[in-house]
């Protein structure tokens, strides 16, 4: 059994709930107060895998930027998996998402990207799904940091993918 560490970086526009997802996963807490992240904050969560080995997920919660290229690129270096977060309740956070994902994949061709729509609790899922389809937005998870819906599932899927 080997213990490994992997860096996961959360990126996306301002106020989409990256920090809330981060806190929900690490501390299982949620706050309605919005405090913009300056620079980056780092937390760690250790996951025990099925084979008994332990995986340390080192989570980098970066400050929001409209475009990925506007962020501090050095924070993205060495990332083992990106989580691109958008806000389901604000179309401006995902109407150009494909351009951002394309940029990210060009810059980091060997790093997987998970796309997550947050604030599922604040929208009508059927209407949002239509909009997402119209805009050809491909996503991996629709989640809610507030209720905790699909948050653990996202990080556990990443953990399994990284170990395998």
């Amino acid at each position: 059994m080997t213990n490994q560490s992997k860096k996961i970086t959360l990126i996306g526009p301002f106020g989409v709930g990256k920090t809330s997802l981060f806190k929900r996963f690490v501390d299982n807490t949620f706050s309605e107060d919005y405090k913009s992240t300056l620079g980056v904050q780092i937390q760690k969560k250790v996951i025990t895998m099925n084979d008994g080995s332990q995986l340390s997920l080192i989570l980098w919660d970066t400050e929001g930027t409209i475009k990925v290229s506007e962020g501090r690129s050095s924070y993205l270096l060495g990332t083992h998996c990106f989580v691109y977060v958008f806000d389901l309740s604000r179309i401006e956070t995902y109407e150009n998402i494909n351009t951002q994902i394309k940029y990210l994949k060009e810059k980091f061709p060997n790093t997987p990207v998970k796309i997550l729509g947050n604030k599922l609790d604040a929208v009508n899922i059927k209407n949002v799904e239509v909009t997402l389809k119209d805009l050809q937005v491909e996503y991996d998870f629709l989640a809610s940091a507030k209720t905790g819906d699909k948050v653990d599932e996202l990080f556990l899927e990443i953990a399994v993918d990284l170990v395998n």
Partner: protein
């Protein structure tokens, strides 16, 4: 004349020339046989030829092989650039340190000479009276620096590769320290130097984080106490020695092995 004698005479006339040739050939074969079978004789004939050929090879080899070897080396270095740089980093670091140390000694000697020429005996007595040097030494003795933690961190990801913490010192999670230090380093290096310089120290109260940068990783030595140039120099030498002797591809990929190496190397080291 009898029939038989005539035939003998005819034979002699016809074969006389061939007999001479055969005799000459037999003599030459005997000579060659002697050369081939007797080592000394053979050596006399062959050695000059071999010497000539060897000299010719020595002359031609660099011309013919040099481009091939150079190209192979170039390819090898190009294909394993990271490994080569990783191996050279500590050696280059030592060379640069040695050079700087030498230059500093020269500068020091120059300053001392200048001071000796500038200050009078009266000034010397005055400084003695103040006992400033004695005070400095006493201060240094009471605040002896201590190496309390060593962290080896992957440069880009900030992932901790190995750590060693002095038995009676406890800190927060070392993996978080590795990540935060990398973020701070990235921020400072981006903000003030355009990426060409490295953050080398972070000071906090009595603690100094000495950061020694290598190609793919950096080593942080946490020092408690007075961090003077002398201490900095000792820590640099220790870390360069460790990087040159204790870091290998195997150890980098095996955190447990790497941490054990770190412990073995630093547990009995004082600064």
């Amino acid at each position: 004349m009898k029939q038989t004698n005539r035939l003998e005479l005819l034979k002699e006339i016809l074969l006389n020339e061939e007999k001479e040739v055969t005799s000459e050939l037999a003599e030459k074969v005997a000579q060659l046989s002697s050369i081939l079978n007797e080592e000394e004789e053979l050596a006399k004939k062959v050695n000059p030829l071999m010497d000539r050929k060897i000299n010719q090879l020595v002359d031609e080899m660099p011309k013919k092989l040099s481009p091939v070897i150079t190209q192979s080396l170039k390819n090898e270095i190009k294909n394993s650039q990271d490994a080569v740089i990783e191996a050279l980093f500590p050696i280059i670091g030592k060379l640069i340190k040695k050079y700087i140390s030498h230059e500093m000694q020269m500068l020091n000697a120059k300053i001392n000479k200048q001071l000796a020429e500038t200050f009078t005996i009266k000034g010397w007595f005055k400084s003695k009276k103040n006992k400033s040097r004695v005070v400095d030494e006493a201060f240094l003795a009471t605040d002896k620096p201590e190496l309390i933690q060593i962290l080896v961190v992957e440069k880009e990801s900030g992932i901790l590769k190995a750590s060693y913490t002095h038995a009676d010192k406890e800190t927060i999670d070392e993996e978080l320290i590795g990540g935060m230090l990398t973020a701070i380093k990235s921020f400072v290096e981006d903000a003030y130097s355009g990426g060409n310089q490295n953050l080398e120290t972070i000071a906090y109260d009595f603690y100094t984080l000495h950061i020694q940068n290598f190609y793919n990783y950096y080593i942080v030595a946490v020092i408690n106490g007075l961090y003077t140039n002398e201490v900095k120099n000792k820590v640099e030498n220790l870390l360069l020695d460790f990087a040159a002797n204790g870091v290998s591809k195997d150890s980098i990929n095996n955190n447990e092995l790497f941490s054990n190496k770190l412990k073995l190397f630093f547990s009995d080291k004082s600064i």
